[in-house]
Amino acid sequence: MTYLKTFATGLVAAALTASVAMAQDTKVIGVSIPAATHGWAGGMNFHAREAVERLEGVYPQLDFVLATASDPGKQVNDIEDMVATRNIDALVVLPFESEPLTSPVHAVAEGGAWVTVVDRGLSVEGIEDLYVAGDNPGFGRVSGEYMVSKMPEGGKIVVLRGIPTTIDNERVDGFKAAIEGSGIEIIDMEHGNWNRDDSFDVMQDFLSKHDQIDAVWASDDDMAVGVLAAIDAAGREDIQFVLGGAGMKEMVKRVMDGDKMIPADVTYPPSMIATAIELTAIAMTSTAPVSGTFTIGSVLVTPENAENFYYPDSPF
């Protein structure tokens, strides 16, 4: 008897909740991103939280669930939980790794929810409704073109690479293509793993190995910090400038202040997660078409436009 009663009460409660939900027609958007384990991801987390807070105010009919994962397995669990407990209408996901996330995200899309994929693509094409992508070859190309414009007579440069990944390969290939035939010669290249300490060590060794280095493509702002410290400690005057990348606030500030060693920066904005959440909100609330691919170009930050890329409140 009691079992039946509980069951009945539960059924009524469920029916009531459902009718309330129907009346308001609230849609739930799930956002699943990697945890803030390094600077860029920290910035991405910041922009995701900010976008969610802002959009909750703008669209009362939207609900957001934000989950951060420290590994691909946890991210898969997060997404499964979102579907099971919150019955999400749309998923915004920045996959930790492409392979392990492909089939769980595919299952979400099969279930009829809108799927937005950010930055790292899935390993099977055509699953997502919207792909908001950073432009890695473009990042390399813009960096290379800036080097060429800054050193018209050519010169000797060293390059610090990131963690060995497709992202890093695409960037370096774009860079090499852009400097081809310009007289700029890459005399050495090593992995600094997007890490300040590693790039400090690598740059110290480059400085011992080469007597003349005209410029450094650090390819990342964290690595640029390590490179600058190594140059400073060695007291070398031959290096004219260091080009980083990503758009860390401290580096953008130095560009803004007209620092000779950091004359420019190239963006790979962590705020692209905000673009993705915003576009997904539009997809949920209006009839404006937003499906397809949205590529966020890498932009050259110079003292003239640096102000537009400076976010003093962001941790990155």
Binding site: A35, A36, T37, G42, S208, K209, A229, S314
Partner: protein, 332 residues
Amino acid sequence: MTSETVNTPPRRALPSMSVLGPIIALLALIAIGAFLNQNFLGVGNITNVLARSAFIGIIAVGMTFVITAGGLDLSVGSMAAFIAGLMILVMNAALPTLGVGVPIILLGMATALIAGLLAGLLNGFLITTLGIEAFIVTLGTMGIYRSLVTWLADGGTLSLDFGLRTFYRPVYFDGILGISWPIIVFALVVIIGEVVMSRARFGRHCAATGSSEEVAHYSNVNVNRTRMTTYAMLGILVGVATIMYVPRLGSASASTGVLWELEAIAAVIIGGTVLKGGFGRVWGTVIGVLILSLIDNILNLTDLVSPYLNGAIQGVIIILAVILQREAKAKG
């Protein structure tokens, strides 16, 4: 040490391979480096390699004692990152009241040493008093400290105030008579560690505890206190390493000190300390640390091997070191 010399047959003039192996490997690396690049033996490069070895080196000396006493500590890398973050926060917070000067640097140093001591005591307490496996305890605290520093930094990077950094910088880059401070501190830690390990009672207690807890206990060695002291000592040494680390780049983030624990453990093992405990060699650890940093340095200075393979080469050296140890044991 003494037990080994007794075991060695008197007719053999050369010390065993477990003693010679690491030294030969180090000399071979130096020869290869000097042959491949003429800057390798320059003062600048030697200073760079020694100074950057100092962090892992100082921690590895403490690790030698922990491992000799039959323990293990996986938390040191995260602990270093956490202490670095804490130190930066404390110094930045004290800046308005203390201003840029020696007192604030001393405050930062005291913070690092006390935080290190407390972190070490916590590990020691959980392992000895509560009797939990060292591997599990330090795996747990490793995750805790790594998360704490990420949280303190809000996922980004904690940076020391610019004026402070400029004032504090000489602690990494300057020194006495052209020898930079990290190298001097590293050398002092090694000398003290070697004396304690091979001459003092505490060193013998560590070895006794590590080789057989029960025998040590019946020989009137306070096993728990010995273990506790090794973890506390390692904690303080992590604090010392952090004091040298912070002035270098003036920042700490979630990627600070990643895998330092494994590098320190590897250096200890390459140097001939037995992973199961019972026998430790501080000078061997120093050779282990130098071997690991020289591999990186030589690979950076030359274009012989693809940088993708750095880790593979270090791995081969670690395994070779353990094979040499085993052979020495079988013969003895």
